[in-house]
């Protein structure tokens, strides 16, 4: 398909939009001595202190347990939904489940279950079920249809599924489940920041006590855990891990919730004027909500996301050849790999939390975190593509290769990946509000804090709508650029596209 939009034109529009956002962005450095804070933190990370081993290992075990249980539950639910994904009701359910971020799910679930196992497990399992349903159905659609056709018209659907689709799709499904487990480990750790007993909680309490060495130890263990997922999680050991996770979760002590928490939550969802029998009051209620929370929150979300997108693009553009030995040299490529792995491993939210400790509260920590993390993901995917390019034997090296071969050849992929990440950056920008930056998550969090669940749900719906809108816009731009072809046939391409839109 021919391109009806110029690539450089699109880049220009996005840059111009970012310039317009710049005056609206609050980028002040609020802490009085960021460099000292950075030095303290850096020293802590370089000399990790493992003496608080008992606390740390307990937090690690809980993080693992929540991740394994949540991903397993979400995966099973998604697997049951996947064969029926063509049905509109199932598709709608899946879209609804995954359009709400894990942290938002957790904030809502905390109202029903309190700080309990179910809040954490369901916060991961519910959105992941929606994602699994979509991806597993895609994987099964991509499987070779010929054996199923051979069975003829009389074979029943279950037999057709179990004998042909399932074995053909199994390797890709296992692969994707492992990738999702990596995502689940990130989600699980981040849930700690809102009170569940995982790594985020431990990190937060170490920072509050100024124990940077112990925080450094948490980080080191966390990176090691994510980098080695494929070593310790084997299909044969799944049952064992599930049993261990269940045992671990059974030790979580939850403060009891009052009677009827679920019922109270459900009745609180109904907009206040309706609950008080004043249907005419809904319009002012909604207007107040729009004016006082949704519009300012949306504005801040879009500003943070736009600037973060440009930063991510810049990081990826410069870093795309960082892991190619022909450009960076052998040692440089190894160092580039390490840098990108570290930036990719940390969830945006955790990075933003760290930057917040350094720079104090403003949009700056969120923009930096989102830009670096997403830039590293795009850079990594592009780097793998660059390493697979077949170059002529006398091709140049170093910067010349980067500028003359890699950049022009991968520019289409670069734009497509940035557009894919755009939607994710918007979602995550909204989430950053929980850290105190005035994006949509901030207004959502404070609505929940005031126990005004009706307002929280309305803000949540607005967040979902914005995400869906940006997703549609990104898809339209990709189609006009002729860059939608990232989703080509071939399982490797498909895997890459899934990671581009994944965690």
């Amino acid at each position: 398909m021919g391109a009806s939009m110029s690539r450089l034109g699109v880049v220009g529009v996005f840059l111009a939009a970012a310039l317009l956002c710049l005056p609206l962005a609050d980028m002040t450095v609020a802490s009085h001595d960021p460099w000292a804070a950075l030095a303290r933190m850096g020293r802590g990370f370089l000399t990790p202190d493992f003496s608080a081993l008992e606390q740390i290992s307990r937090a690690v075990a809980q993080t693992l347990a929540f991740a394994i249980a949540g991903v397993a539950l979400g995966g099973m639910a998604g697997l049951c939904l996947a064969p029926f994904y063509r049905l509109r009701a199932v598709r709608g359910l899946a879209i609804g489940l995954r359009s709400v971020h894990e942290l938002f799910w957790a904030l809502m679930l905390l109202q029903v279950f309190g700080i309990s196992v179910w809040s954490g497990v369901l916060a991961i399992a519910l959105p992941y079920a929606g994602i699994f349903a979509k991806v597993l159905s895609e994987i099964m659609d991509e499987a070779d249809p010929r054996p199923a056709a051979w069975l003829g018209p009389r074979a029943d659907p279950l037999t057709r599924f179990l004998w042909t689709r399932m074995p053909l799709a199994r390797p890709q499904m296992v692969n994707y489940a492992l990738y999702r487990l990596e995502c689940g480990l990130r989600s699980s750790a981040v849930l700690g920041f809102i009170g569940l007993p995982t790594l985020g909680f431990q990190l937060d309490s170490f920072f509050r006590q100024g124990e940077y060495g112990a925080a450094g130890a948490v980080m080191a263990i966390y990176i090691a855990l994510i980098a080695t997922v494929r070593l310790w999680m084997r299909p044969r050991l799944v049952i064992l891990w599930l049993g261990a996770a269940a045992l671990m979760l059974a030790t979580v002590q939850a403060p009891p919730m009052g009677q009827g928490a679920l019922w109270r939550f459900l009745s609180d969802i109904v907009p206040a004027p309706l609950r008080q029998g004043d249907p005419a009051g809904v319009v002012p209620w909604l207007w107040h909500l729009l004016d006082g929370a949704i519009l300012p929150g949306l504005m801040a979300t879009l500003v943070v996301a736009q600037l973060a997108l440009i930063l991510a693009g810049a990081v990826a553009f410069l870093g795309q050849a960082l892991i190619v030995p022909r450009v960076a040299g052998r040692a440089g490529a190894a160092a580039g790999h390490l840098l990108l792995v570290i930036l990719r491993s940390f969830p945006e939210y955790m990075l933003a939390y760290l930057f917040l400790q350094v720079f104090g509260p403003s949009m700056l920590p969120a923009i930096l975190a989102l830009g670096l993390h997403n830039g590293a993901i795009i850079g990594h995917l592009l780097g793998r593509q660059a390493a697979a390019l077949t170059l002529r034997p006398d091709a140049p090296r170093g910067l010349t290769l980067w500028g003359w071969e890699i950049v022009p050849r991968l520019f289409g992929s670069f734009l497509a990946l940035c557009l894919y990440r755009w939607e994710i950056i918007i979602r995550e920008s909204a989430i950053m509000g929980i850290l105190g930056i005035a994006t949509l998550g901030f207004y959502l969090d404070s609505a929940i804090g005031e126990l005004r669940i009706d307002r929280a749900v309305a803000i949540l719906a607005a967040t979902g709508l914005v995400t869906i809108g940006v997703d549609a816009l990104s898809r339209a731009i990709r189609a006009r650029l002729g860059a939608a072809s990232l989703r080509m046939s071939g399982s490797r391409q498909a895997v890459r596209a899934r990671q581009a839109t994944g965690c």
């Binding site: 070779d144 054996p147 069975l151 009389r154 029943d156 279950l158 179990l162 074995p167």
Partner: protein
Amino acid sequence: MQLLDGVDLGYGGIAVLQDVRLSVAPGERLALLGRSGSGKSTLLAALMDAILARDLRVALVPQDAALVPQLNALRNVLMGRLDDHSAFYNLRTLIRPRRVDRDAALDALDQVGLVPEAGRAVEGLSGGQKQRVALARALHRGGDVILGDEPLSAVDPRQAEALAKIIRGAFPTAVLALHDVAIARAFATRVIGLRNGVILFDLPVADLDAARIEALYGR
């Protein structure tokens, strides 16, 4: 039985074969000859539909084998009879086949000489072995008719001859697309020559002479 009567066959609106009339009598063995792209596969696909519409049992050996590479040879053979059983029965077979089913499938594998490979995943087998698994699946299925699209293309000539004999013994009626004229002569009762989407000849195998073969394959 009159199977096709004056139809245009093809895909996507483009007719590959035009105005085809074909009847196959029970007990006949047809060989389809012709260069690749001459319309053999299209004709076979149409025959498949026509046979299914008449509620006859048909065993198919497609050109690409259409096996499930991750399952072992035995289970791929067992697939031949899945539509005879309930979903629950098939689930049990997938987990652990019953003795009688296992023996029947092993018997089919024995006929193509693959019993030692029964437990191996099909993805690890050679091209010729895969083709024999597909043939064993058709033998296990059994039926009124076998339809095969180059079912012997990847096995060596002597084996092909033996397998053709087995097919002849197992199915009363057969339609096979073949690339080897000698095997076609030995196997078939009737040959159909296709060239560029047109049926060039349709005659008893005894009437197949060198001139006709030259007309079929020559420049």
